[in-house]
Symmetry: D2
Subunit: 338 residues, 4 copies
């Protein structure tokens, strides 16, 4: 069976997903694409033979579309995901599921109402769960290679923040990866958070505190530090170290070539996330397509995972506005027993 995929959003992320579906997946065809900028959608269509839909809602209703990827603006994620649920079609929504807790919760509730104890329809694009490095770290931790975790250190640096970035959007749009990733690595939910600011980078407007330093406590007692620095300039650089009772596990930069030149030895950083997580995105999409074809539950992050990450983000923003005090995370209701 070939899964026929439609992609909503043809910006950097959506075009990348569309290309992956078209060129790199087994058992998937790209059949439709749409974007608020029709020329961007047309460019993707021209490269792949997919049709152009007038908008996301129309794309969802196209009969030949079996499954939907949502990569449009964050503010549209919830309503489009709800429409896909209403259409009864599997949907992979880019993170965040929604920028607000209430919208995320609405998606969780709608999916539950729609499928009951049946197969969930919604997956959320927390692709780090499929990155070879994170996967190996989680496996090594679970296997006891370094003993139980005691501390985690995460770093997320980018070259420059997108237009309109604020202190809050840095949390809901970037740090949210850590809010999903850390509890997934530790298999323990975040219970409280505390927000702190580094010295403000001189190149950044005050509306965005950058860098930020975040503390997370998980139910197992582990303390996680996270540095998020959107304007780190030197390159796109994501790091993670898990410190256990007997040793540590850390990601390495997945480079392939090292250069000696002009009195220095080193390797290059990518300018954005695509080269760094290309394999994670490919594997995530392949696993998603395979689960649809096989009629089994998606192994990706669920709608509830997306909601939980947003709840953590909200607590972090509360701490930000309250002098960095520790803020408790209120967990959403547990999923129904199947």
């Amino acid at each position: 069976m070939t899964v026929r995929v439609g992609v909503i959003g043809a910006g950097i992320m959506g075009a990348d997903h569309a290309n992956t579906v078209h060129r790199k997946l087994s058992g998937a065809d790209l059949v439709a694409v749409t974007d608020v900028d029709a020329s961007r959608a047309q460019a993707v269509a021209d490269a792949s033979g997919a049709a152009v839909a007038t908008d996301g809602f129309a794309l969802i209703e196209v009969p030949s579309v079996d499954a939907i990827i949502i990569a449009s603006h964050d503010s549209t994620h919830a309503e489009l995901t709800l429409a896909a649920i209403a259409a009864g079609k599997p949907v992979l929504c880019e993170k965040p599921l929604a920028p607000t807790v209430s919208d995320s919760a609405a998606v969780v509730a709608a999916e539950r109402a729609a499928v009951g104890s049946g197969l969930p329809l919604v997956s959320v694009g927390f692709m780090r769960r499929f990155d070879p490095g994170y996967v190996r770290m989680k496996a090594a931790l679970a296997a006891g290679r370094v003993g139980p975790a005691v501390v985690v250190h995460g770093i997320s640096r980018g070259v420059s923040a997108g237009p309109g970035a604020t202190s809050e959007s840095s949390i809901t749009g970037s740090a949210i990866h850590e809010f999903d990733c850390v509890p997934w690595l530790l298999d323990s939910p975040v219970t409280e958070v505390s927000w702190h600011a580094g010295r403000q980078s001189g190149a950044v407007e005050p509306v965005l505190r950058d860098p930020q330093v975040l503390l997370l406590r998980t139910a197992d007692g582990v303390l996680t530090t996270v540095e998020v620095f959107l304007n780190a300039r030197y390159g796109y650089d994501v790091r993670c170290e898990i410190v256990g009772e007997q040793g540590t596990l850390a990601l390495t930069e997945p480079t392939t070539v090292v250069v000696d030149s002009s009195r220095s030895h080193g390797y290059d950083y990518a300018a954005d996330w695509r080269p760094r997580f290309a394999e994670a995105y490919r594997v995530q999409l392949q696993e998603w397509v395979d689960s649809i074809a096989a009629g089994v539950a998606s192994p990706l992050a669920s709608a509830r995972d997306g909601l939980i990450a947003t709840v953590v983000a909200q607590a972090m923003i509360t701490s930000m506005h309250d002098a960095g005090r520790w803020v408790q995370v209120e967990p959403p209701a547990p999923p129904p027993v199947r």
Copy 2:
């Protein structure tokens, strides 16, 4: 268009190719498989829904097979490739195209006779040409990042040699990757070679000199050193450094996780080539399938490339048997002008 692929040989290499075709390629289906050990073929068929053919020649003739991958014993490569040419079907033959120069030349001649100035049918599986590290090194060299090359150092180490390995099969079966890779990196053919032996590893029978140290001279004057050590024990480890007039380029081990434990800091080696070159094999097969679907020339190594590597291997064996003296490489006739 979906390319329907048949795989001849279901050993480690063939099963790996079959799985890649079945699970990881866009636009390809695995439709048939065969092996001298019927149970191995059946295992692959069971995992993929492919049919089992009685032997390689039968598989080639199956009407639903559009293209063939040959991963059976080296000694069968030439006759099966000739059969695929006779059937007019694209074929990807694992290296070496044939262990002998005469058999390799026969394939080149047969292909030329069959297709004339049309699309070649034969590709050879020198997958390093698609490894991200080698690709980036070649691009950086061509871009002048370290100036013109002056010396190259290659290292090919494995954990243990397969049964029946000899000094000569180490050349034709392992070092042959270097004989294709180095001239491809430098864009300059090998013109002379010289063979030398390291101290014989105590764990190895005398019929296999291991490690060996090989010198290659290319037409551009660059000198390449190659260490081939099949019984290096500690891990599968392939390295390459290109030294230029202004700097160097070197592969890094493509690791993703580093561990601190028990007074040491480090990363793990794979036990064989599959993890190291998984991406190279996947990309190579995708590019091959894409070229077939598009009706364009394969970007993989050609039959003539396979012949040339075998010619270099033959010269190296001559040096081995003649006290390491420099032996000239006689280039095969140039390809016809198209």
Copy 3:
């Protein structure tokens, strides 16, 4: 001129200093040693030809002793330093100058009373100021290589805590290096601190919270995170990264040999601080001796630097006992103008 040095304390640290003075310094002789354990003092004396003094106070009074190193128990530092001041002899006191603020302040006051605007007598052994890595980081930061600092990350891990270690002694005995080092690197004093605990390592008694995660704010606004983990088991591992507006600077583990073995690639950690900081200790002592011989001010950390580090430690302990809230650091009175 040869500086004749006496060493008080012949434990691991003192014996190491004694050996450095005897074997590795230009312009210095080891002439006297003492320890509460006479056999340890005798062992050092036997190896060097130095005399054994009955106790620290007696050693200070030995006429042939020009300068004193104090490496005895932390609780003795202040009174011995005061005795050296009274004797008018240069003294290098191991960190901490004293475990309490009041004792440290008493040393600062006594020195000021003794020497007025003359040459200070007291140096404190914050040897990281002479470690080649820290020195290069400070120089590169000051040279603007990565722009102004925004965040610093420090890590101090040891194999196992000494007997009797408590949460507080981890601060005053280990983390205190960071309290001196970070403001020295940034050239900006610590203004506030906040204390947090990682998950308690199962191997550690509750009287010692281990690991701890500390936050420091310096006057320049930079936020520093410090992980102190006395029972990290895997090795002695000190790290530091300075994140600037345009890039980062980080220490590398000063290893010299890398090993491939048993499916892994890596290097060894030392079991304690001596190999890691051997060069820092040697250079610190040489610079101290050179300054004495030349009759110029010591370039080592001063008594006031030692007091300031203790003040920061005290504030951190206050935060520890007050749920991690940010605690202001009250700076000691400025030094007199000379």
Copy 4:
């Protein structure tokens, strides 16, 4: 006892030695210096309080000079060493002991005639024997950490060749380090050698073949490859890897700080050998001085070691002029039994 040292030659190497003796050694004083350029000698004298001697022979005769370091032009090494022997004073001669075998042999013979079975007077400055990395590699090999050696790879690269460099002087002046170091590491003498050239770097005059690739065979059967590239441009870079039956040992670049900046991650190379081998030179001189003070045999390379390295260099040059054929190394007569 303080050893009073005179230094002949105040160029880069001699000035560095003089500074080490004056500033970094325990138990040594710099008392005299000389150079063909009187102003260079005076500069060293001004910095240290040493006297200036009119020439090397005069310096050797100065009564207050206990021991001599020869760091003048290679062509003067032999005659000055002979003068030191005649004066009965310990002498450390920079490598090479002499550029020719006959001159080196003359020194060996003169020393033997002078001291008989007494303490040797001559040491040769093969400082790699005291480099922490080489020392650890040799110890790890001897301890069996990677099994018996089978192959060694050495690389010696510099930024640019000195004026007047020729293919032959590259062997006698630079590669000679490898001719001493490899047999010292393996504890097995070089028995045959073979010379090869890389592609000629476009920046180099033809009188100097650069880079060169050298093969060494030691008596234990181990094959060593050495790349010597005097004009590598990018930095001073010395590497060594010992491949054993069970694993490998390799030097790491002794860096202390790593920088992220401008899309790259890396560390700096030194422009010449001084930072790379500063510790080796310091330890070598300290060990030499200690042996003189203690009246025991020098642990440095001996005159005979210097002769042997020159014999290997001579064989390599013979191979260079004979198309790279393997040339046997004729060992000098064994030392007398003591």
